[in-house]
């Protein structure tokens, strides 16, 4: 084989290796993350987070203190999904890889917020708000990672 054809061939090989590792490891990591999210969500079932702005009178009477709590997470999508998303940009339709990315990020952020509330001894989190930012917007190599922040006010009940 002449040396000139090795360059592109090597690049092609590297591309497939990246694609395969993104597909394999990325899928494994996503599944593991979802498992951990589900089990922690079950644990924190007793501490509801609601998007209601003003607590009702009954809740207010039972509350002794309020603290702001928040949780944030930055999650990146894998190489394979980014490649598929690039293709999808041409033909349109939904991009499932990015849907799960945002879903994981939001649920993880809420869980971290609830964990902070739980440590304070709260039993409710009110007025939950989300803030989503794409980290590498406008950069040349688009990374495809998002930051999600969830914040709210934890109500600590009277003893």
């Amino acid at each position: 084989m002449d040396p000139q054809s090795i360059g592109p061939l090597f690049q092609l090989l590297a591309f497939f290796v990246l694609l395969a590792s993104g597909f394999g490891i990325g899928r494994y990591l996503e599944r593991r993350h979802y498992r951990s999210i589900r089990s922690r969500e079950k644990e924190l079932n007793g501490l509801p987070a609601v998007a209601v702005k003003v607590p009702d009178a009954q809740t207010l009477l039972a509350t002794s203190d309020a603290r702001m709590v928040m949780g944030n997470v930055v999650i990146s999508v894998d190489y394979f999904k980014r490649f598929v998303a690039g293709l999808r940009n041409v033909i349109g339709r939904r991009i499932r890889g990015y849907e799960t990315l945002l879903d994981r990020a939001r649920r993880e952020a809420v869980l971290r917020m609830k964990q902070e509330a739980g440590q304070l001894g709260a039993n409710l989190v009110f007025n939950v708000k989300f803030e989503t930012a794409s980290i590498s917007k406008g950069s040349r190599r688009r990374i495809g990672s998002v930051e999600v922040l969830a914040y709210g006010t934890a109500l600590i009940p009277k003893r």
């Binding site: 990246l18 590792s21 993104g22 490891i25 990325g26 990591l29 996503e30 993350h33 702005k53 003003v54 607590p55 809740t59 207010l60 509350t63 002794s64 203190d65 309020a66 603290r67 702001m68 928040m70 944030n72 997470v73 930055v74 999650i75 990146s76 999508v77 894998d78 190489y79 999904k81 990315l101 993880e108 009110f126 007025n127 708000k129 803030e131 930012a133 980290i135 590498s136 917007k137 406008g138 950069s139 990374i143 495809g144 990672s145 930051e147 922040l149 914040y151 709210g152 006010t153 109500l155």
Partner: protein, 105 residues
């Protein structure tokens, strides 16, 4: 200093409104974190370095807001909001703002 993103603080009454207070922080990512992030970009998953970075800068923004609130004589900030914007490539501004109030003890 009490913080809340409700318009009230349960069990307390607002004595006086002291106006809008805000604090912001601009941070850039650094090389080491960026390299790890490059690796994580391949297989996906949480970028812990960035999570910490943004958490720290949010704390910084909050503490600047609190300092401003203290200067006006407030003892609580209600209706706290966050906002994020990317100023330049690789740098993000985080803004925290709210209404400084004086609460009855």
């Amino acid at each position: 200093m009490l913080l809340s993103n409700l318009e009230i603080i349960p069990g307390r009454r607002v004595k006086r409104h002291l106006g809008l207070v805000q604090g912001s922080s601009v941070r850039a990512k650094h090389m080491g974190r960026d390299m790890m992030a490059g690796l994580k970009n391949l297989v996906g998953g949480e970028l812990k370095g960035y999570t910490e970075l943004l958490h720290d800068s949010r704390d910084e923004a909050l503490s600047r807001m609190i300092a401003q609130a203290e200067a006006t004589g407030a003892n609580a900030v209600v209706n706290v909001r966050f906002s994020t914007s990317s100023v330049a490539q690789g740098a993000a501004e985080i803004l925290a703002y709210g209404t400084a109030v004086e609460m009855e003890e």
